[in-house]
Amino acid sequence: MQKLILALAIAVLTAPAQAHDFTSGSIFIEHPMIQEAPPNAPVLGGYVTIHNNGDVPERLVGIESEAAEKVELHQSVVTDGIARMEPLAEGMEIPAGATVSLGDDGTHAMFIKPDRRYEAGDEVAATLIFENAGPVEVVFNVEERSAKAAPNHEGHGK
C-alpha cells in the first residue's frame, strides 16, 4: 500500500513536467527533454515527440541551440552486438498524420559541448528546424535519467 501511495505521489509530482508542448501550424511538438548527464559530460542526449496533424509529410532537418556548440541528429544502432552512432543525414521524417519521436529506435539529438552544466530542472532553449514549417522555438526540460529514477519494476526507492 505504501508503495502504491509512493507510486501515485511520484506520478502526480512528475505529471506537470510531462505536460509541456509547442504547436506550429499542423505540427504538434510534445515534451522536448534532455536527460541529465554527469557534470563533465561533453554531450547531452535530447528527445522529443512530434505529431504531424497535416496532410503532407514533414521532416525535422535540424536543431539549433545557443546552449551547445552544435546539435546533431543521430541514431544509435546495435548491430551484431556492436553499438554505433550514425548521423540522421536526411533528418527525421514525420509522415502526414503520424507521430514520430526522437528517442524511437535509438534516435536522439546530440547536444555537443554544452556551454555549462545542465541539471535536472534546468531548461534549454532550442529551435527545431522543419522542412515545411520552418523554425519552431521550443524548450527542452532537463530531467533525471529515467533508468536511475524508476527502473522498470516496483519497490525501488531512492
Binding site: Q35, A37, P38, P39, N40, A41, P42, V43, L44, G45, H74, S76, V78, G81, I82, A83, R84, M85, P87, G106, H108, M110, F111, I112, R145, S146, A147, K148, P151, N152, H153, H156, K158
Partner: protein, 204 residues
C-alpha cells in the same frame, strides 16, 4: 511392402550420405575454417594480463578484479545515449542488490582513452555510482585487453575532425577466476538482468 522397404532404404541412404557430407564439411571447417573467435567458457580470458589506470589514478592489473565475480562494460564519455543508459541501468541493478553489490566488481572501461583521462572518468562514473570502477590508460593496453576478450571497438570519424566510438554494447559477466559467465543486454529487462547478476554472485 517391398515398395515401403525400398523407400525406407532410400531414405536411410540419403540420411547416411547427408551425414557424410556434414561430417566432411565439419572436418573441412575444422581444418581450414576460421579459428574459433567465440568466447570460451573454459579459458580464463579475463585473467589475461593488463595494466590500466582507475579513476583515482591508481595503477590496476587483472589481479585487481579477480577473486570476486565481475561485470565489465565498455564505452566512452562522449557518448550521449547508449553508455549513460548502460551506466544508469547498472547503478539501478547495484541499488537493488543492496549489500550484495559488494560481492561484485563492476568495471567500465573507456574505449576512448585519448580523451577519457582518469579525472574525466572519475567525475563521469561516480555521477552514476561510486561502486563502479572506471578504467582508462594507454590505447595499446586497452587494445590488448579488447583483443584478449573479443571486445570490439573502433573510431568513427565525424565531420569537423571529431569522432565517436563504435563499441561492444553488452555487459560481460565474469567469474571470480576470470572465466566468461554470460552477458547482460538492455533489451532483456531489469528482472532478467537482476537474476543473472544474482546467479553470478551466488556461484562466487
Amino acid at each position: 511392402m517391398t515398395g515401403k522397404t525400398s523407400t525406407g532404404m532410400r531414405k536411410l541412404r540419403i540420411v547416411l550420405w547427408a551425414l557424410v557430407v556434414v561430417a566432411a564439411a565439419g572436418a573441412g571447417f575444422l581444418a581450414y575454417g576460421p579459428k574459433p573467435t567465440g568466447v570460451s567458457e573454459v579459458e580464463a580470458i579475463y585473467a589475461k594480463p593488463f595494466q590500466l589506470v582507475d579513476q583515482n589514478g591508481a595503477a590496476v592489473t587483472e589481479a585487481s578484479f579477480l577473486g570476486k565475480p565481475s561485470a565489465w562494460f565498455y564505452g566512452f564519455t562522449h557518448c550521449p545515449d547508449v553508455c549513460p543508459t548502460a551506466l544508469a541501468e547498472m547503478s539501478a541493478l547495484l541499488e537493488e542488490l543492496g549489500p550484495d553489490a559488494d560481492k561484485l566488481n563492476v568495471v567500465f572501461v573507456s574505449v576512448d582513452p585519448e580523451r577519457d583521462t582518469p579525472e574525466i572518468m572519475k567525475e563521469y562514473v561516480e555521477y552514476f555510482d561510486d561502486r563502479i570502477t572506471g578504467l582508462t590508460g594507454d590505447l595499446a593496453q586497452i587494445s590488448t585487453m579488447a583483443k584478449d576478450r573479443y571486445i570490439f571497438f573502433e573510431k568513427e570519424p565525424m565531420e569537423g575532425g571529431d569522432y565517436l566510438m563504435g563499441h561492444q554494447a553488452s555487459i560481460q559477466l565474469v567469474t571470480a577466476d576470470g572465466r566468461f559467465f554470460g552477458t547482460l543486454a538492455t533489451e532483456e529487462g531489469f528482472d532478467t538482468r537482476m537474476a543473472k547478476l544474482r546467479r553470478l554472485i551466488g556461484q562466487g
